[in-house]
């Protein structure tokens, strides 16, 4: 199976290689041919969610062209995949682009969704000895509708001691530009999230979206709490002898 990786701008620009590297390695181990179209940029969400739809159309066109040849597009972010699925609505007055957008939307998957629903694998042979909890990102669960896949995969990671996050359905307060436009509100939201994480006694908070992890992790760091955040790709790529977070 040929998979084109859509890394997302946060994993590309803000974070070190771990998330993308893990995604590639997991998929390859599961028998996929993975390529990384180098012209890729961002899904366009910052502009779209801010109401700059003309601008987000330009970004969408670029992404559609970049992934035109791909058989499958897989991304370690539920939120960005949900945005790719929004593309057809951006071209309601342009059937040609709309068809192309539709094609991209149909072949795009979030990483755990792809592993469970397309590759039909629920155990990726990962092992990680840690107390963990999981943050269900809003866009991944509500917009993309992926709820079960990450849980199924985590259940089969050896060594994980899992505690469910209280009020797990509640937003962490990221919301893209919301996190910088509405700082006082965002602060209250992320504080509550961090408090719930602490209640679980987890050492590691796992998530499937770097936006949320950057928000929660950044707040945890600022408060000097001893909890680490980890993207689910890194967890699924953990092996007994391989150390993560180096």
């Amino acid at each position: 199976m040929n998979v084109s990786l859509f890394l997302t701008c946060l994993a590309d620009v803000v974070y070190p290689a771990a998330v993308g590297k893990s995604t590639v390695e997991i998929l390859e181990r599961l028998g996929c041919e993975v390529d990384f179209p180098k012209k890729q940029t961002c899904c366009g969400q910052p502009a779209f969610n801010s109401g700059f739809h003309r601008e987000s159309r330009d970004v969408a066109k670029h992404m559609i062209k970049t992934f035109e040849e791909a058989e499958y597009v897989v991304s370690p972010s539920g939120s960005c995949v949900a945005m790719l699925k929004e593309y057809p609505h951006l071209f309601e007055d342009d059937t040609d682009w709309q068809d192309r957008a539709e094609e991209l939307a149909n072949k795009s998957f979030e990483l755990t969704q792809f592993i469970v629903d397309v590759l039909k694998v629920e155990d990726v042979g990962a092992e990680l000895n840690a107390n963990v909890t999981y943050h269900t990102s809003c866009h991944m669960t509500r917009l993309l509708g992926v709820k079960e896949a990450p849980m199924k995969l985590l259940e089969n990671v050896k060594g994980l001691h899992f505690t469910e996050l209280p009020n797990k359905q509640q937003c962490c307060g990221f919301g893209g530009t919301f996190s910088v436009k509405m700082v006082p509100i965002s602060e209250q939201m992320v504080n509550e999230k961090v408090q719930h994480i602490e209640e679980t006694d987890a050492d590691i908070l796992i998530g499937s979206d770097l936006g949320c992890l950057m928000n929660i992790g950044g707040r945890i760091e600022r408060q000097g709490k001893p909890v680490k955040v980890m993207h689910i790709a890194e967890v699924l790529n953990s092996r007994a002898e391989v150390k993560t977070w180096e």
Binding site: D12, V180, M189
Partner: protein
């Protein structure tokens, strides 16, 4: 009162909300109680999603044919001797209502809960006439006694008050001398209100749904106050938003059930009242005169636009009860009698952006509201739609933001530019990653970010570098 409440600026209101520890505790408790009960009663149905689809369809169909059903409703009310008045705006509605009250020479007016009468500022108009207007919904009565404190929730208007605060208000305003026990408080309110029910010459109600096929007004309450307000006074005036129509009793049945379950997690509330026309021969109670005021006040302008679905709303507050923003800032922060997600959508539609331009941005777009809404209004999408209108039409987005977005779009659709931006990012980020003492570093949005959080410290190589090296190695081998 009107839609807008208070004159504080948005962030001042938010600040007040965030620092009101009691209110926040009350909201968190109410959200978990209401949302918990809702989940239970909706899961009981087994196929909640099918019911949502059906309810959406009913509301959409009604809005598509609103003129037809309104005509039918009006005709049926008139046939039974009722009077109907169409008010284009708040002033027209209030003129009509005050003219009836004047004609009746009424002094004492009893009300059941109604958001639309708040929206048009009806109480103030009647008070100007010298009338004594009494709210009979317990929550609304408490707010009225407390010097017209505005509602902070559309179903539980006094949600922001605790029982001690209510006791204090009763003591101060009505010489109450008992405890803060909710039963004692309610008993006291009942006794006090009884006098007002008996002396009222005019009863004014809102309307949850108006049934077109029979000209019936239906009211949903738990306190039975709407029944008292519509059986004792000789004149009844019902005020309704023009979208509050259902075609037949069959749809009424469905939507009432959706409303009760979504609003308070009950299969049905204690009282569901259907009022058709005035007292007839042989009836032992009911009003002698029956008026319905149908209020437009900006609604017809929403019809046919991308915002039409906002008119599907049945005012259940389910969206408010799951909203993580409302949870922390409370209802008054919205500066509108319609708070929460539906308030953030509806308020700028009814009153324009000038006073409410922050509301569409006061959301993370987490879509909890959309998921909760029993009539499937895509609330988070409508918030984005507002942002789009602000950017494209109202000219209210800031110059800085426009520039940033143009720059962003240019970079994100030109990989050459994007790569320059992205390869310089890690070193840039590490220079601002740690804000000191809660004071952020870095330019604009970065500073806002680092005000309260650290940025990830980029350690090690970037993905692109790792990938390039790997490709190189593979080529060599």
């Amino acid at each position: 009162m009107g839609i807008k409440i208070g004159n504080d600026k948005f962030f001042e209101r938010v600040d007040k909300g965030i620092n009101d520890k009691f209110m926040r505790k009350a909201v968190v408790e109410a959200q978990s109680r209401l949302e918990g009960r809702k989940t239970q009663t909706t899961e009981e149905m087994g196929n909640w999603e099918d019911w949502r689809d059906l309810s959406e369809e009913i509301r959409q169909h009604t809005l598509e044919n609103l003129d037809y059903y309104l005509d039918q409703f009006v005709e049926n009310v008139a046939k039974q001797g009722g009077h109907v008045f169409f008010a284009e705006d708040a002033a027209e509605a209030n003129d009509y209502i005050t003219s009836i009250v004047k004609k009746k020479e009424a002094k004492n007016i009893i009300k059941s809960k109604s958001m639309v009468t708040e929206e048009i500022g009806m109480n103030e108009a009647l008070e100007e006439l010298g009338c004594n207007v009494v709210e009979s919904d317990l929550g609304e009565w408490i707010l009225q006694l407390d010097d017209h404190d505005p509602p902070s929730h559309i179903v539980v208007p006094a949600l922001h008050k605790n029982k001690e605060q209510i006791r204090d208000t009763f003591q101060e305003k009505r010489k109450y001398d008992k405890s803060s026990d909710p039963n004692e408080l309610a008993q006291f309110a009942r006794k006090e209100l009884r006098k007002d029910f008996l002396s009222a010459e005019v009863g004014i109600t809102g309307c949850n749904f108006a049934v077109a096929e029979s000209g019936t007004v239906s009211l949903v309450t738990n306190e039975g106050n709407a029944r008292m307000a519509t059986t004792l006074p000789k004149t009844q005036i019902t005020v309704m938003g023009m979208e509050r129509i259902v075609p037949t009793w069959k749809e009424l049945d469905i939507l009432v059930s959706m409303l009760c379950r979504s609003a308070v997690g009950q299969k049905l509330t204690s009282y569901i009242t259907g009022l058709t026309a005035s007292k007839e021969e042989g009836d032992i109670d009911g009003p002698e005169e029956f008026h319905v005021v149908i209020v437009d006040n900006g609604r017809s302008k929403i019809l046919g636009t991308k915002f039409q679905s906002a008119l599907q709303c049945i005012r259940c507050a389910a969206c408010i009860n799951v909203c993580p923003v409302y949870r922390h800032v409370g209802g008054h922060s919205y500066g509108s009698i319609y708070p929460g997600p539906i308030g953030a959508v509806l308020t700028p539609l009814l009153e324009g952006y000038d006073d409410h331009k922050e509301l569409p941005y006061a959301s993370t777009l987490c879509a909890a509201c959309t998921e909760a809404c029993p009539v499937k209004i895509p609330l988070h999408e409508l918030l984005v739609e507002h942002r789009k209108v602000i950017v494209e039409q109202s000219g209210k987005s800031s110059f800085g933001e426009k520039l940033a977005m143009k720059g962003y779009a240019f970079a994100a659709s030109n990989p050459g530019v994007y790569k320059v931006g992205s390869s310089s990012a890690p070193s840039f980020i590490s220079s601002v990653a740690k804000g000191k003492d809660g004071h952020g570093k870095g330019p604009g949005p970065v500073k806002m970010w680092t005000d309260i959080r650290d940025l990830p410290e980029p350690t090690g190589e970037t993905f692109r570098k790792w990938y390039a090296n790997r490709e190189k190695e593979r080529d060599q081998s």
